[in-house]
Symmetry: C2
Subunit: 232 residues, 2 copies
DNA sequence: TTTCGGTAAACTGTCAACAGTTCGCAATGG
DNA sequence: CCATTGCGAACTGTTGACAGTTTACCGAAA
């Protein structure tokens, strides 16, 4: 940005706090840190061979992203989603995604529609290959792309900020809801088709239907996991 | 949360970083710090009689809120809104607020509708009293309340996160756009009425119209301010 | 055996100091 | 007079240490 012909391959400009945040984000989303688990600043600093300063900044970053929360004078904990949280996030996603669908549909952005169709196709392929992990990834990617393709960074960012924790749940969703899988597939394809139709109302409605369906599945899954957990 | 009967009036539990963030936020939104201005950590720490640690955390907090941005190894700067940013924020607001209007309308939440009507009434009173500052505050409050009354904290938070900087612009808006003032007033009241009608489509449409109108005004105002600034 | 109280360890919030980089300015050369 | 180079000041990124609070453990009393 500053100097066009900037040639400085030496000297890593990325602060330690950023790479630390990335590392912790990965570990949380990957499930290495369980929800509700306490995150010890000093221990992590020691383990990474750095001081507590960058670790604190990394935690502040993750807190802003909603991945961890703070209890004053007690420390940071990995965020845990209650059913009420899940409902909130799905409502927010509905607000963002239905609007994104309207935007793309109204603009008649052929490139964007093509991209969405491609992801939907890959999603079906993953389902037929019974690749659960890939299915969950592509499912999330479809919705992320929907927001990204609006070319409104803030809208996409608002989506990403809250989708992270959800993706840890979606990994389980597919395993428990095989019977609804075909409905999910056609549901995604319907969204693309209705966006392509240029009828903004239909595009919005398709998106809303899909999310209404999805939240029902996730809440049922969450309930199922909770009752199973209460057994042991 | 931990101890129900917690009575410890002594010992201030609010960290220095939080109160520092609040102070800086106030100063930025109040215009004491100009957009693009550099924020010196050491200087602010000295001025507040604290060390740089809490100041850094406060800056991280404000950065997460979008009020400041960082240039690596150079420091923090007060965020400045380009017309493209303004457009992005208004689109995001449109996504959030139209959905909020739908939610409240669908739920038929009389208490929420009453609250919105009350704010709209105060807004008209401020306009008649020619109280520009109060008008700007109530205008923003109306939209904030619209999101808050959904009782979806994340939706409201997404609104608040991006409305802060806008409010610094809205302060100017009123001064330059007297002729459109009456349109703005009726526009707010229309939103309340259409929400109250229970017709979710009408509620959504009223909200969308209002924001389309508002962004036009703000962009024109921004253009006006820019050309005026180019003169000196 | 259970509950209460006290003590010690652990952890967060905060501070002061160091290292490397960037920025500004003056001296130098064209 | 203008561009360039070198130096010094200032600032960010990072570190290690200290103070106060919270947590956990252990023993004593009911």
């Amino acid at each position: 940005m500053a100097t066009p012909g900037d040639l400085s391959p030496l000297a890593d400009p990325t602060p330690l706090s950023d790479s630390t945040a990335e590392l912790l984000r990965e570990k949380i989303l990957n499930g290495d840190f369980a929800p509700g688990q306490r995150l010890n600043e000093a221990a992590m600093a020691r383990q990474l061979g750095i001081s507590r300063g960058p670790v604190r900044e990394a935690l502040a970053q993750l807190r802003a992203e909603g991945l961890v929360y703070d209890e004053p004078r007690r420390g940071s904990f990995v965020a845990a989603l209650t059913p009420a949280d899940v409902k909130e996030i799905y409502q927010l996603r509905c607000a963002l995604e239905t609007y994104a669908a309207r935007m793309i549909s109204e603009a008649g952005d052929e490139a964007a529609i093509g991209r969405l169709r491609e992801v939907a196709r890959q999603l079906r392929a993953a389902a037929e290959a019974m690749d659960q992990k890939e299915f969950a990834r592509l499912d999330m990617l479809f919705h992320s792309e929907l927001c990204r393709l609006t070319e409104n960074r803030r809208l996409h960012q608002a989506f990403e900020r809250h989708s992270g924790l959800l993706s840890t749940l979606l990994r389980l969703e597919v395993t428990t809801q095989y019977e609804s899988l075909d409905g999910l597939l056609t549901s995604h394809e319907e969204i693309v088709d209705d966006i392509a139709s240029g009828d903004v109302e239909r595009a919005q409605a398709a998106c809303e239907r899909h999310l209404d369906h999805a939240i029902g599945m996730v809440l049922a899954m969450l309930e199922h996991a909770r009752s199973a957990e209460a057994e042991n």
